[in-house]
């Protein structure tokens, strides 16, 4: 692409989150000067870092690890030495005790005590023997794999806090989707590629910018501006004007004024529901109706400053205790010491999952800080008196909800968005997909490649749920290995055809007995084949004679047939049981990390 073609393009990017900023960053590198519109007062979107009195607060806690090498490259290109390698510790708080996370069976059993452990084991056995016949809800799905008791302790409370609905109402399909890549193929591949070691390293440490993810986004913003792009804060898009083919311009609200910004191409990470609602002329009624039915879950973080240097060793703690409303507690000092201006103090982020407009969301900041103080004391992590200050940040539309019908509604919206020629939607909310920041960034990169290089990358298929695969992939680059693995799998795991094996072993055993008999008959002697004739004890009528050899052919065939059939049957059953066992093991391996996917 030459300079003139670049100059002819004016790309407007809506949203300065990881996806939008990455798209702008990539365009700026290609000497295209994008205009980025951000409704908030800072960049970073859902992954932004807020600050209060010199304390930095990461909204949600963002570990920097990825298997997407393009994203990794950008991270290190932007921050370089400002990345810290941090050890990871996260635990679950339940019933006044802390449990290792990812779950470790022995640690869980010891922590819960003998009586509870017996109940868990009995419950597990009961649900293994007689599982739910139909797995319709998340509760049924987990219970069938762990038993009811473990489900109640380690999954129910936290899942209900995060999603705000009962586990019996949450569809099993949702849980299955969270680990959808873990099907037979993953299990089979993992047998060959042994992913365990890599999983371990990912669990134990991660990269983190010295002063939180905001450092990354601010640095990217500076680079965009240095290269001639523009990042406009406090500039929310209030209207989007379209013609038959695509988008013409966007109307931006700024300080009570409105301004129309024209562009040749538009990339947006704004929630796809808002995009549809702001179109002028409006989208077809069916599209508007579908977009309205896409739902989100929101959350708020109560950030508190604690007058103590050390609180607990975790980066974050999952709070499963149903007696408190807080879902997760971040200890920012353990993410990076530079998040705190005064080493004598600590800062915590108490995350409450809620829905915009509900009781929690509408509580005043003071009420929320008091609630946090009370809950910290109730849990026993911090004395309420040590909480000296705090502030609240509300994050709307933090998680797209995968409810029972979202897929159908999203398909309608997706078709419509696809019909707009100069428009691409990216990012978690732009795609209504539970993407982490690395995958969100990847959608921004791919959108730019589509725009500048004419590639046809399907942004809707950039998948957040491939971690397990990626962990395997990191171990061995699958691309060249895949063909070999494919061949090996094709020659190892398919079923043996019972009849074919029965016929072949039957034919060979019949032939062996026939030839052995004939050879002895032809050799002759006073007593012909006295030992071979003992076979007649099993095959009545058999003798070492010409006639007997024909009978032996028949008997041998039937005996061989039965053996071959039985062998193939047993082998198929064993392979099936083995793969089922491996799948179950691998499922449990992943379920131990399920909280992160929730």
């Amino acid at each position: 692409m030459n300079q003139q073609q670049c100059d002819e393009k004016h790309v407007v990017i809506i949203g300065a989150g990881p996806a939008g900023l990455t798209a702008a960053y990539e365009l700026a590198k290609l000497e295209v000067h994008p205009t980025v519109l951000e409704k908030g007062d800072r960049v970073g979107g859902l992954a932004r870092t807020e600050d209060y009195k010199g304390f930095y607060f990461d909204m949600g806690g963002h570990r920097f690890f990825t298997k997407v090498w393009e994203v990794k490259k950008v991270w290190h290109e932007v921050l370089g030495k400002d990345f810290l390698r941090r050890p990871r510790l996260s635990r679950i708080y339940y019933d006044g005790k802390f449990f290792d996370y990812p779950l470790k069976p022995i640690n869980a059993l010891f922590g819960l005590g003998v009586w509870e452990s017996i109940r868990i084991v009995l419950s597990y056995l009961r649900w293994q023997i007689s599982p739910y016949r139909r797995e319709e809800s998340f509760e049924q799905w987990v219970t069938n794999r762990f038993g009811k008791r473990l489900f109640e302790i380690f999954f129910k409370s936290y899942t209900e806090k995060v999603w705000g609905i009962s586990c019996s109402e949450l569809k099993a399909e949702w849980a299955a989707q969270r680990i959808k890549d873990l099907s037979l193929k993953t299990v089979l591949l993992s047998m060959f590629l042994k992913p365990k070691e890599t999983i371990k390293t990912l669990i134990e440490e991660f990269d983190y910018p010295r002063r939180g993810p905001g450092m990354m986004w601010n640095s990217i913003k500076e680079t965009i501006e240095k290269n001639g792009g523009e990042v406009r804060l406090n500039s929310g898009v209030v209207g989007i004007q379209r013609n038959g083919k695509g988008i013409e311009s966007v109307v931006v609200g700024y300080n009570g004024n409105k301004e129309t910004i024209r562009g040749t191409h538009f990339i947006s990470s704004m929630p796809v529901t808002e995009f549809v609602a702001k179109l002028d002329p409006p989208a077809p009624p069916a599209v508007c109706a579908a977009a309205q039915r896409l739902k989100y879950r929101d959350f708020l973080t109560v950030c508190v400053i604690v007058n103590k240097p050390d609180l607990f060793p975790d980066n974050w703690i999952y709070i499963h205790d149903p007696a408190v409303k807080v879902g997760r507690i971040q200890n920012f000092k353990n993410w990076s010491l530079e998040m705190i201006p005064d080493p004598a103090k600590s800062s915590l982020g108490l995350e409450y999952f809620c829905t915009e407009g509900d009781e929690l969301w509408n509580m005043s900041d003071d009420e929320l800080i008091n609630l946090s103080r009370y809950e910290l004391e109730h849990i026993g992590l911090v004395s309420g008196a040590d909480v000296e200050d705090g502030c609240v940040f509300r994050i709307p539309k933090a998680y797209p909800i995968y409810d029972a019908d979202y897929h159908d509604y999203l398909a309608i919206v997706k078709d419509f968005v696809g019909s707009l020629q100069n428009y691409q939607t990216i990012g978690r909310n732009g795609l209504h997909r539970y993407n982490n920041q690395d995958h969100a960034m990847l959608t921004g990169m791919l959108a730019v490649r589509n725009l500048m290089l004419g590639e046809k990358n399907d942004l809707w298929n950039v998948n957040a749920d491939q971690e397990y695969h990626e962990e395997i992939r990191e171990k061995i680059d699958l691309a060249p290995a895949l063909e070999t693995v494919k061949e090996a799998l094709a020659e190892t795991f398919p079923k043996l055809d019972r009849v074919a094996l029965a016929v072949s072993t039957g034919a060979i055993s019949g032939m062996v007995l026939f030839l052995a008999t004939i050879i002895l008959v032809l050799k002759g002697g006073a007593v012909v084949g006295p030992n071979l004739s003992l076979v007649s004890q099993y095959f009545p009528g058999f003798s070492v004679t010409i006639l007997g050899s024909l009978l032996g052919l028949g008997y041998g065939f039937f005996a061989g047939f039965a053996c071959g059939w039985g062998f193939a049957f047993c082998r198929n059953v064993t392979v099936f049981l083995y793969t089922a066992l491996m799948q179950q093991r691998a499922e449990r391996q992943l379920l131990r990390k399920l909280l992160e996917y929730i």
Partner: protein, 111 residues
């Protein structure tokens, strides 16, 4: 990549296993040869007035084979050859039988 992996799953779930005749021949041959070699030497080491009268009957089929240390090497060779033929033949017939059935099946589909 996901398409490739889906292809693997489809392959594993829908295909019938084909046997590699040469591999099966070699494996069966080695097992038979070694089994006869070990069985022969076991009896040789045990010793006695008449060493291995029953195993010695194999000499009727394997010319030159005897239950002696030297015979154990002949047994190794004979056992390997015999096992190879058996293993190879089973796999060969198995694969041909599958071809035959699949041809019949595809004709049915075309019909």
């Amino acid at each position: 990549m996901p398409d490739d992996i889906k292809a693997i799953e489809k392959l594993v779930l829908t295909r019938l296993l084909r046997l590699n005749a040469k591999v099966q021949g070699v494996v069966t041959g080695l097992i038979c040869g070694l089994a006869l070699f070990i069985a022969t030497n076991w009896l040789v080491l045990k010793g006695g007035d008449i060493v291995g009268p029953h195993l010695g009957l194999l000499g009727q089929f394997f010319i030159g084979y005897r239950v002696t240390f030297a015979g154990s090497f002949a047994g190794l060779g004979y056992g390997f050859l015999f096992g190879f033929v058996i293993g190879y033949s089973v796999a060969f017939i198995y694969n041909r039988f599958l071809d035959f059935r699949e041809q019949g099946h595809s004709k049915e589909l075309k019909g």
